[in-house]
């Protein structure tokens, strides 16, 4: 304890070991103390050796870049879903964002994976860039189907498997509805999901007969 402060005050540059053994002679100038972190890109004393060039090097390089590009196109590359912004923008259509639903595009061997990892495999979607007119009549029926399904879901006491099935079906419906919404948005200014065709109105109040129907 007593020597701790003493060592600092007694002689400047006193170290715990014999300085001569390491090679610093008496009276030699010590290098200046470092007062700042070392520079980010210190100047190199020796230039690095050139990279291997030649047929093999170039082939492997091209292969590497090709692999990188190829892996981005495979179904294993999962793009995160772009979060829904406050306003739908025109550029959203052209952005490559991931699908929002929970399915994978490739078919793994489910026997080799734990059961808990099983996810729906998305079937190959046919091209959805169809003309608007033929889509209109089926759309209303799809709407009706979906609302009926929603009602059914509310009323039934379902087991897990049934729920899963319905979720899948609903998601498929949702998918189709999403695409339809996009196509319809081109011609109307109104957001389709706000559209209420009045079918829910009568159904909801069927449960409670006490209230008067206006």
């Amino acid at each position: 304890m007593a020597s701790r402060g003493g060592g600092r005050g007694r002689g400047r540059g006193q170290l715990t070991f014999n300085v001569e053994a390491v090679g610093i002679g008496k009276g030699d100038a010590l290098p200046p103390p470092t007062l700042q972190p070392s520079p980010l890109f210190p100047p190199l004393e020796f230039r690095p050796v050139p990279l291997p060039s030649g047929e093999e090097g170039e082939y492997v390089l091209a292969l590497k870049q090709e692999l990188r590009g190829a892996m981005r196109q495979l179904p294993y590359f999962i793009r995160p879903a772009v979060p829904k912004r406050d306003v739908e923008r025109y550029s959203d259509k052209y952005q490559m964002s991931g699908p929002i639903d929970n399915a994978i595009d490739w078919n793994p061997d489910w026997r080799r994976l734990p059961r808990e990892l099983k996810i729906r495999v998305r079937k190959l979607q046919k091209e959805r860039i169809t003309i608007l007119l033929p889509k209109r009549p089926p759309k209303t029926t799809e709407d009706k189907e979906e609302t009926i399904q929603k009602l059914e879901k509310e009323e039934e006491v379902t087991s897990e498997e049934d729920e899963e099935k319905e979720e899948e079906e609903e998601k498929e419906e949702e998918e189709e509805e999403e695409y339809d919404e996009e196509e319809h948005e081109e011609e109307t200014d109104y957001i389709m999901s706000y559209f209420d065709n009045g079918e829910d109105f009568g159904g909801d109040s069927d449960d409670n007969m006490d209230e008067a129907i206006y």
């Binding site: 090679g23 004393e45 291997p52 090097g57 590497k64 870049q65 294993y76 994978i104 061997d109 994976l113």
Partner: protein
Amino acid sequence: MTQAEIKLCSLLLQEHFGEIVEKIGVHLIRTGSQPLRVIAHDTGTSLDQVKKALCVLVQHNLVSYQVHKRGVVEYEAQCSRVLRMLRYPRYIYTTKTLYSDTGELIVEELLLNGKLTMSAVVKKVADRLTETMEDGKTMDYAEVSNTFVRLADTHFVQRCPSVPTTENSDPGPPPPAPTLVINEKDMYLVPKLSLIGKGKRRRSSDEDAAGEPKAKRPKYTTDNKEANLDRFHQHFRDQAIVSAVANRMDQTSSEIVRTMLRMSEITTSSSAPFTQPLSSNEIFRSLPVGYNISKQVLDQYLTLLADDPLEFVGKSGDSGGGMYVINLHKALASLATATLESVVQERFGSRCARIFRLVLQKKHIEQKQVEDFAMIPAKEAKDMLYKMLSENFMSLQEIPKTPDHAPSRTFYLYTVNILSAARMLLHRCYKSIANLIERRQFETKENKRLLEKSQRVEAIIASMQATGAEEAQLQEIEEMITAPERQQLETLKRNVNKLDASEIQVDETIFLLESYIECTMKRQ
């Protein structure tokens, strides 16, 4: 796992599989083995996204799972396997040199998809080859299958562990996760695949070919194959040894060593310290056809190799004209030491390298003696020693003269601990590759707008050429990219190529150092 390794894994996963997989993968590497719900909770991602990511990771052998008691399945990431992704181009190129384009595509498909069944691989490769061939010609499935079988015979492709088939059907509920087993003997079996047909039009050719009974329909195989990375590493190691011998001695001795290694490819396991003893007569018989050296000359070469101080080849007996082994561990140690020496030389200069080699040779040496032996003035020698000491290439060993360890009465000896220096260098390599990848991504992001523009212009030109446009129109479109922009693109391309080539180069160093560290740890 060190921070540098985790950072590198994160960059690799993000580049190849996207951000969601990267988040899950890095979390697993950091925290070890975890069940599904804990992963979802800790990373804050939805359960479905976690399931998606885990499916991808397990498919590519980056994550393994284990069933614990009470049916809980825990997932564990293999950090070293993620780092192998850097080496994919090298694996594919090696297969190309050994088995030409067909083999190259087979290994490429296996690496890109993790694991595949044999029939799926054969079909994909044949389709790809058919696309590149001239019109009218198609790739025969049988040829691709043959190459596949050859790859399996030399152990470059192996079977994945599969679900064991139980004889009696278990009436109880199926286990939450299969326990995959693989029999050592079955690792390289290939199913008898009778795929008939060529190229894309396989199905139609089955029906077209009259007289073929329906029973000959191609059987689809169900067991998965994957690329055997250990075998590739063995091959790389052999290549490194052969080229080292060629550099040190001459071409003929390297051919002899190559023959010896080839003969012990399958008989020696990859982690053995030395190969099986080979008699000089066997070696003489197995030399490649072009080399007609006499038995005496061969014996002389073998004696020379065995007497060499590097000790790549050792003599283990006298029967059969002399029994010789290749000391794999010693060879790897020499290669790692040579790597260290060359790093010191390139970083600090040739005088430093001389001091480094001196300390390596003398094992422990005092500072005064360094100046005398290396014949370098004292001041410079001191400076260089401290520089290397501060960069952890060397270490100090204290030998006290008195029991109280007084500094004035202690010997300080400089020594090089190859294992720890190799580890330090390996860590630096990981950091440098991470820096290279980040810089490349930064460069690409900076010029993203310009890259997209050039891609669009190329697409326009391609479509116009397809519809037959005139020269003047094409010229006009090409001028959409101005001259300074073109120069910028050229610079970008050059930089990205340089960064990529550096990554490949650093990966070679990583391979040598990792092999050395692995074999030394096994020995202990």
